[in-house]
């Protein structure tokens, strides 16, 4: 065990002895997200560096505190990328935070989510033990899939120290088409197109304009463009980055921002101004709206609503409440990894 891991492990052991909560933090780019952070600050930013990257294996292993920027730049040099296009929100975003928050960008419905790319993790659990799950190979079904379980766990199960991800080749060409549609037309169109073999890699709709990103071989893009029509959007790369990073005015002017995740073909929610992504499966809404109303509306379509950003964090936490049975199960899982409830208490649910 390296010195920095040893020190973190000792720190966690001491916290366990004193039953003292720890607030795990990477670059702090997602401090706003989830329930109110509690506990003594425990930073991972010293755990830096790419441990192993083999472009021909499509696998990268890096320490959790490595800047997402560094990962992205290193991959780009080899013509690869993180297929789930994680949002950074600030330049300080780390790989560990990207995995723990479980957030994926515009490519998610077409390429996969964070958890789909996690191959292995090294963690320190709530007893201070250094453990490895998964591995550095693409196919591995030995043992329970604890590595993927870490994605989106908001640091409540363990301190991520090292992560192995599957990488994705960058597409040879990309273009973005623009269409004038109202919300219902856009939802309908996206649902129909994604059921066809088209090289779609991103969809976004706002204020009457649908943007559709195509990725693939130049010939395939030309064929798709002929089939779909629309206008070509200039500087499309900047647009998709702004969507992913919430830099568009829709996001920056929101006092509170709701994130509704539901089946893409669900009809318009009619809850005010909306920004659609993921073929309609991700809908951003301005708040404040009544939380119960938002949640009831989302669950009517077998989806869920998260208060993504807000001035004041809600008491029950920002995430859609779980059924009692599922919550009890997750409490038992939490106790497996973190029996003394040290890690990020309340960041995911008040009970975890």
């Amino acid at each position: 065990m390296t010195d920095d891991l040893y020190n973190l492990s000792e720190r966690i052991r001491a916290a366990a002895e004193q039953r003292r909560a720890l607030r795990i933090r990477g670059g702090g780019s997602k401090d706003f997200y989830g329930g109110t952070p509690h506990g003594q600050l425990c930073e991972t930013t010293a755990l830096r560096g790419i441990v192993d990257y083999e472009p021909t294996e499509l696998v990268i292993t890096a320490r959790a505190g490595t800047d997402l920027r560094e990962i992205n730049a290193t991959l780009r040099e080899q013509g690869q990328m993180l297929g789930f296009e994680p949002p950074s929100f600030t330049d300080q975003a780390t790989l560990g935070g990207a995995v723990a928050s479980g957030l994926s960008g515009p490519r998610r419905p077409y390429c996969g989510a964070v958890r789909d790319f996690v191959l292995g993790v090294q963690i320190i659990d709530g007893r201070g033990d250094l453990l490895r799950f998964g591995g550095r190979v693409i196919k591995n079904v030995a043992g329970f899939d604890v590595a993927r379980l870490m994605a989106g766990s908001m640091g409540t199960l363990g301190l991520l120290t090292e992560i192995t991800l599957k990488t994705t080749p960058c597409p040879t060409a990309e273009c973005t088409l623009r269409f004038e549609f109202d919300e219902a037309q856009a939802l309908d169109t996206m649902s129909r197109w994604v059921g066809r073999p088209l090289p779609i890699s991103g969809t976004a709709w706002h204020a009457g304009q649908l943007s559709v990103r195509l990725s693939g071989a130049p010939a395939a893009l030309q064929a798709a463009r002929r089939a779909l029509g629309g206008e070509t959007l200039e500087r499309a790369g900047e647009y998709w980055q702004a969507v992913r990073e919430h830099q568009l005015a829709f996001f920056t002017t929101a006092e509170s921002l709701w994130r509704i995740s539901l089946p893409g073909h669900a009809p318009p929610l009619a809850l005010g101004e909306v920004f659609l992504e993921w073929g309609g499966a991700l809908r951003w809404l301005h708040g404040p709206a009544d939380a119960d109303e938002m949640r009831a509306r989302a669950s009517r379509f077998a989806g869920h609503a998260t208060l993504f950003r807000s001035a004041a964090r809600p008491v029950g936490g920002p995430f859609q409440p779980q059924t009692p049975a599922l919550l009890a199960l997750q409490q038992r899982l939490k106790a497996v990894f973190d029996p003394y409830r040290l890690f990020n208490p309340g960041r995911l649910y008040p009970e975890l």
């Binding site: 083999e54 021909t56 294996e57 499509l58 690869q80 998610r108 419905p109 996969g112 789909d116 659990d125 250094l130 453990l131 490895r132 799950f133 591995g135 190979v137 693409i138 196919k139 591995n140 079904v141 030995a142 043992g143 329970f144 899939d145 993927r148 994605a151 989106g152 766990s153 080749p169 960058c170 994604v194 059921g195 066809r196 073999p197 090289p199 693939g216 071989a217 010939a219 395939a220 064929a223 995740s261 539901l262 089946p263 893409g264 073909h265 669900a266 993921w278 499966a281 379509f301 989806g303 869920h304 995430f319 779980q322 599922l326 199960l329 997750q330 038992r332 899982l333 106790a335 497996v336």
Partner: protein, 490 residues
């Protein structure tokens, strides 16, 4: 012939009969025989009884009873698993999900299929065909294997480098815990709040819960597909060609390698027209629209030739494409025809370690006095060495098992895994102690307890006890040969 049950067992079976239709509880020895093993036929055990529930309510009732009576339950799909995940256990109830075989809904708009666990993998794609959709993961047993079994094993297939494993294609599950609690995991959305229980349940080998409903993602059927067949005079060159292709940004829909022994076995068997007298054949499939495929095939061919392929052929039509694949698909039976028995291994390795591992296997062939043919899911590093033996020759089975075990250890040493897609089951349970340390194994056991406090679901599979690992360490000295493999241990 009737089994001689103890009074306690008879009383328990009588209670099972009260919960289910008459023909849904089997307890005659002859009936039980049909369920004594899955596709790992070297382990055979008769269960206490077999139950065939027809709906979730019956699954729930049986599990509740077993929970209350502390009787273990082994869930079984189609019984095509290769690692003994569905091998029964003495004194346990074997629960076949074969009668939960309804396709509940194909929703073309949501591009999802909601099905019961006993539905066959291929039946989902067949039902989705009218909508131009299909279910992508295609394990080689797809005509027979069930989707419930696929979830339990997180099955892969020939196309999983591009389209993912089962875990990447399941949107939601309904499961029943051993305590009889029904849980809905995931819904219609692309993510869910809280811990990713879908990921945890995928590949959990029947240890955590019994699946009663699966919602899978359907995708648009590619318009066309073509295969490039490339021959190489060394496996090292073939391996390098794979690395060049993937490093060059090409993700083939399928990428398979066969070694000399496999080619020699399959060509006379299916007459696929493979070049003979070569060390390795690669099959690279491209799928998509006609323009995409034309573009990708051209790039594939260029990479393969540059890497040193001595021959390159592109399938000219669908018949030829299927003929190229026929050899690969017949690899297991063709090799099976060469020897009385074969033992199929399932290690996964970083692709760069291929030459080292194949070299190691060649050396072991000499040492164990057994032949081994290799097929390789080259795109994702999943190696299937097929060890040929004759179970009627004294000690050949144990030599084959020891040989296989050593291959797995070599895979782990090279940074790989003891199982890429077949699961641990009964077969590789000892080798879990090689791949994981005691801390990780203890977490696995605790995860199991979080779902199943008394250890009643598929006990003795997938996750070894601490004592078992200690014993394996000792017994390993004796070539890994475990006496009485059908006896429950600890």
């Amino acid at each position: 012939m009737s089994n001689s049950y103890s009074a306690k067992d008879s009383a328990f079976i009588a209670r099972l009969r009260k919960l289910l239709p008459t023909d849904a509880v089997l307890s005659e020895r002859e009936e039980l025989k049909a369920y004594e093993c899955d596709a790992l036929t070297m382990y055979r055990v008769l269960p206490l009884a077999v139950v065939l529930p027809e709906n979730e309510t019956q699954v729930e009732a049986v599990l509740k009873l077993c929970h209350e009576a502390r009787v273990p339950v082994v869930a079984r799909g189609a019984g095509t698993g290769l690692s003994g995940g569905a091998t029964p256990r003495t004194g346990a109830v074997l629960m076949s999900l074969a009668r939960l075989n309804r396709i509940i809904e194909i929703d073309p708009l949501a591009r999802a299929a909601r099905v019961q666990p006993g539905v066959r993998n291929l039946a989902i794609s067949e039902a989705a065909t009218p909508f131009g959709l299909y279910y992508a993961p295609d394990p080689s047993s797809q005509i027979a294997c069930s989707i419930g079994g696929n979830v339990a094993e997180n099955s892969g297939g020939v196309h999983c480098l591009k389209y993912g494993l089962t875990v990447h294609n399941v949107l939601a599950l309904r499961v029943v815990t051993i305590a009889g609690e029904v849980l809905q995991i995931g819904g219609g959305a692309l993510d869910q709040p809280g811990y990713d229980l879908l990921a945890l349940l995928s590949g959990s080998e029947g240890l955590l819960a019994v699946v009663t409903e699966v919602t899978v993602r359907l995708i648009a059927k590619p318009q066309c597909a073509r295969v490039v067949l490339a021959a190489f005079d060394s496996v090292v060159t073939a391996g390098q060609a794979v690395a060049d292709m993937i490093g060059g940004g090409i993700i083939p829909a399928g990428l398979e390698m066969m070694d000399r022994a496999t080619i020699a076995a399959v060509e006379p068997f299916v007459h696929a027209g493979y070049p003979m007298d070569v060390e390795a054949i690669l099959l690279c499939e491209s799928d998509g629209s006609a323009v995409e495929v034309a573009d990708e095939v051209e790039r594939m061919e260029a990479v393969l030739r540059r890497a040193g392929a001595i021959e390159c052929r592109v399938s000219r039509d669908e018949a030829e494409r299927l003929r190229f694949w026929a050899g690969r698909k017949a690899a297991f039976p063709a090799i099976g025809a060469l020897a009385a028995d074969y033992y199929c291994m399932d290690g996964s390795i970083p692709r760069k370690a291929l030459a080292t591992v194949l070299q190691g296997i060649r050396e072991m062939e000499g040492r164990y006095g057994l032949r081994c043919a290799n097929v390789f899911h080259a795109g994702d590093g999943n190696l299937h060495p097929l060890i040929l033996f004759d179970a009627n020759v004294p000690d050949e089975l144990s030599r084959a098992e020891a040989f296989g075990g050593e291959i797995l250890e070599l895979c782990v040493r090279q940074g790989g895994s003891i199982t890429g897609e077949h699961g641990v089951g009964l077969e590789k349970i000892n080798h879990m102690c090689v791949q994981f340390g005691s801390g990780e194994l203890e977490i696995f056991r605790a995860v199991k307890r979080a779902f199943d406090q008394h250890g009643l679901l598929n006990p003795g599979k997938a996750i070894p006890t601490l004592k078992r690992c200690v014993e394996f360490g000792r017994m390993h000295v004796h070539a890994g040969d475990i006496p009485f493999p059908d006896l429950p241990r600890f």
